[in-house]
Symmetry: C2
Subunit: 357 residues, 2 copies
C-alpha cells in the first residue's frame, strides 16, 4: 500500500503576494460575524507589513511566542483563547512565521474541531475531524512546514508531530519578501533543515522516484544558495522553493537519523530544530558521509559558527531521556537503517552520539 | 496579482498502485446507488488490468476512442450518455489513459454540473460550478494532463483548453506499471511533451523561481531517460515524475511557440499532440536553439523517425486556418516573445514556419 499523499491544494508564489491574502480570505468568509484568526510570530510585531494584513474589527490577531519550540500545552491555551474570543467558529486560521508558528496554526486549526488536548493527537493518523480552513505564510524557508502533513509539538512525554491527512494547510502564500530580513544564522540553520530533509529522503530506504526527484532538486537549490554566488534576492526565492520541494519529498518518504537525534536534543535541552539539526548532522558522518562533508563546506562558506559542547554538562538522566525520545521514532530509524535498525542503533551507541555533541 | 495555483490535492505514486483505486473510490461513495463512471482508452480494452478495476454492477465503464484528439462534441456525447445511464449524479469519474482520455474525463466531470456544450467553456475561467469528483490514472507519461488545470479540446472554431480552477483532478494514481507497454514511438513523442513543457516554461517571459525549479527537474529527468542509459523500469518511473513536474511548472507559467503552432496543426490536420509538438519543435530553432539541438540528439539516440512534409499538400485555406488558430493563443506567444509578440510573430512568418513542416 502506497501513501495517498495530501498535497496543499492552493498555492501562491511571488514577491509581494502577501497582499493577496485579503482576496484569499474573502472567498472563505461565510458571514459577517465569523472571525479570522491570525497567529503571527511575535518577532514580526513591529514589521510594517503586519499593519497591512487584512484583519477586520471582529478578527483576532495573536502574536505567538516561538522563543521555545511549540508545546502541546501552548496549542491548548491558544485554542481555548480562540474559542473564548467568539462563539462563532472561525472562518480561517492564518499562520504567519517560521515552522513553529505555522505548526501552531495547523495544530490550533485541528484542536478547534477535535476534542481534548493536542498531546492526544501526537502520532500518526489520530485526528478524527478536518480542522478549520487554514492558510500558511512562511517567513523563514527550510522547514517544509508549509507543505508537510505534520505539526511538530513537544508534549509531556515526547516531541512528535500530529501527522494526519487533516494537518496540511488548505492554502499557502509564499512571498519571498517576507524571508529577506531573517537573521543570518537563523536563515542558514533553517535552510539546512531543507538540505537535511533532502539528504535523509535520498539516503533512506523509503525512497521512491517521486520523492527522489523532489529531494534532488531541493538539494540542488540549497547548493546554489549556500555554495554558489547568487544575489540574495534570488537566493531567497530559491530557498523558499527548496523548502517546499524538500517538505513534499519527506512527506512521500521520511526523515532519518538526524531528525530523530535532533528531537531528543529539543525535548531535553530545548534546542531549536534548525540549529539542533546542524549540531547533530555534523556528528553523523557514519550515516551520511559525503553529505556531512558538503554540509561542513556550506558552514565554512557561510561563515557560520556552530555551537559546541552542548551535551558537555548533561546528566545521565538527561542523556537517557534524549536516547528514549530519539529511539522512540521508529519510522525515522527504519528509513535510515532498514528494518533491523534496532540492532545497529542501540541505546549505548545513541548515547555515544549525544556525548559528542 | 499572482495566480492562486490549484494543485491536485491527493496523489499516489508507485508500481501496482492501481490496486488502491478501489480504496480511493470507496471513500467517495455516498450511497449504494450512485455510479462511478470509468472512461478508459479503448487501446486498453483487452489488458488484464482492466478486469481488475473496482467496477460494481451499477457502475459504467466506457471505452473511449482517442485515435483522434478529443472533440468538444465527443465530450457532449459522453456527458449525455452518463446522464442517461443513471438519474443519480455519479460519485466519481475516473479517467484511465493518456492525455486525451484524462482530458475527456476532466471535461465530462465539468459538463455534468455545468450546463450547455463543452465548446462554451473553451478559454480561461469560464466554468461556473465544481465538477464531479474526478480521478486521473495516466497510462502514458509526458502530457502533464494528470496535474494541469486544463483539458485540451478541439471545438468548432478552435483547439483550446477548458482552463479553470475546477478542471484539475481531485486525485491521481501514478502507477508506472501502466505505462510500461506503451508503443515506443508514442512513448517518445509523449515524453517530448514533457521536455517541451520544461523548455517553454524555462525560456518564457512568465517564468518564476517556482516554475523554474519544477521545469529544470522535469527536463533533467527527460535527459536521464532519453539521453542516459538507465533500465526501462527506472525510466518509466522517472518519465512519470517528469510529466508531473513539467505539468505543474507550466500550470504556474505557460507554454510557448511550440504548443501554439502544434495546436494549429492539430486543428486542421488532426495531428496528435505529442508528434505534432515534435514536428513543430524541430523547426523552431530560432526560438529555442540549444533545446532543439538537444531534442534532435534525443531523436537520434532513441532512433525515432519523425514524419516529414506534413504540410506539403495543405491548401492556402488550410494554411490560413492553422495560422489563425496558432495566433489566437495570445498568452502562449506573449510568454514566448514578450508583450510585443505581434510585431515578431506576424501571420506571414507563421505561415512560413508551417510551410517547413
Amino acid at each position: 500500500m502506497y501513501k495517498n499523499l495530501r498535497v496543499v491544494p492552493q498555492l501562491i508564489f511571488g514577491r509581494g503576494s502577501l497582499s493577496q491574502l485579503g482576496d484569499v480570505l474573502s472567498r472563505r468568509c461565510t458571514d459577517a460575524g465569523s472571525p479570522v484568526i491570525f497567529l503571527i510570530d511575535d518577532v514580526h510585531e513591529e514589521k510594517p507589513w503586519v499593519r497591512t494584513l487584512p484583519a477586520r474589527a471582529h478578527d483576532l490577531m495573536i502574536f505567538v511566542n516561538c522563543d521555545v519550540e511549540p508545546k502541546t500545552r501552548y496549542v491548548d491555551e491558544l485554542s481555548q483563547r480562540v474559542k473564548q474570543f467568539s462563539n462563532r467558529r472561525p472562518d480561517a486560521i492564518v499562520g504567519i512565521g517560521g515552522g513553529s508558528t505555522m505548526d501552531l496554526a495547523k495544530a490550533v486549526s485541528l484542536l478547534l474541531t477535535n476534542p481534548g488536548s493536542a498531546a492526544e493527537y501526537q502520532g500518526w493518523d489520530l485526528v478524527k475531524y478536518p480542522g478549520i480552513y487554514k492558510v500558511g505564510v512562511p517567513t523563514l524557508a527550510g522547514t517544509g512546514a508549509e507543505v508537510s502533513r505534520t505539526t511538530v509539538l513537544t508534549g509531556p512525554v515526547r516531541k512528535l508531530g500530529i501527522n494526519s491527512d487533516f494537518t496540511p494547510f488548505d492554502q499557502i502564500v509564499m512571498d519571498p519578501d517576507l524571508i529577506s530580513d531573517a537573521p543570518r544564522d537563523q536563515r542558514f540553520f533553517t535552510g539546512m533543515d531543507s538540505y537535511i530533509h533532502a539528504v535523509e529522503s535520498l539516503r533512506g530506504t523509503y525512497l521512491n522516484e517521486f520523492a527522489r526527484a523532489l529531494a534532488e532538486k531541493s538539494r540542488d537549490l540549497c547548493r546554489e544558495v549556500f555554495l554558489g554566488n547568487i544575489p540574495d534576492r534570488e537566493a531567497d526565492e530559491k530557498l523558499m522553493v527548496s523548502s517546499y520541494l524538500g517538505g513534499l519529498s519527506i512527506a512521500y518518504s521520511q526523515v532519518g537519523a538526524c531528525h530523530a537525534l535532533s528531537y531528543g536534543l529539543a525535548f531535553v535541552l530545548g534546542t531549536r530544530h534548525g540549529v539542533g539539526n546542524c549540531l547533530v548532522f555534523d556528528q553523523i558522518e557514519e550515516f551520511y558521509k559525503e553529505d556531512v562533508h558538503e554540509f561542513r563546506e556550506m558552514v565554512a562558506r557561510q561563515k557560520i559558527a556552530l555551537p559546541r559542547n552542548l551535551c558537555a554538562k548533561v546528566t545521565d538522566e538527561q542523556l537517557n531521556e534524549m536516547v528514549r525520545v530519539a529511539l522512540s521514532l521508529h519510522p525515522l530509524w527504519e528509513n535510515c537503517l532498514g528494518p533491523r535498525w534496532c540492532e545497529i542503533m542501540t541505546p549505548e551507541r545513541c548515547r555515544e552520539l549525544y556525548r559528542r555533541m
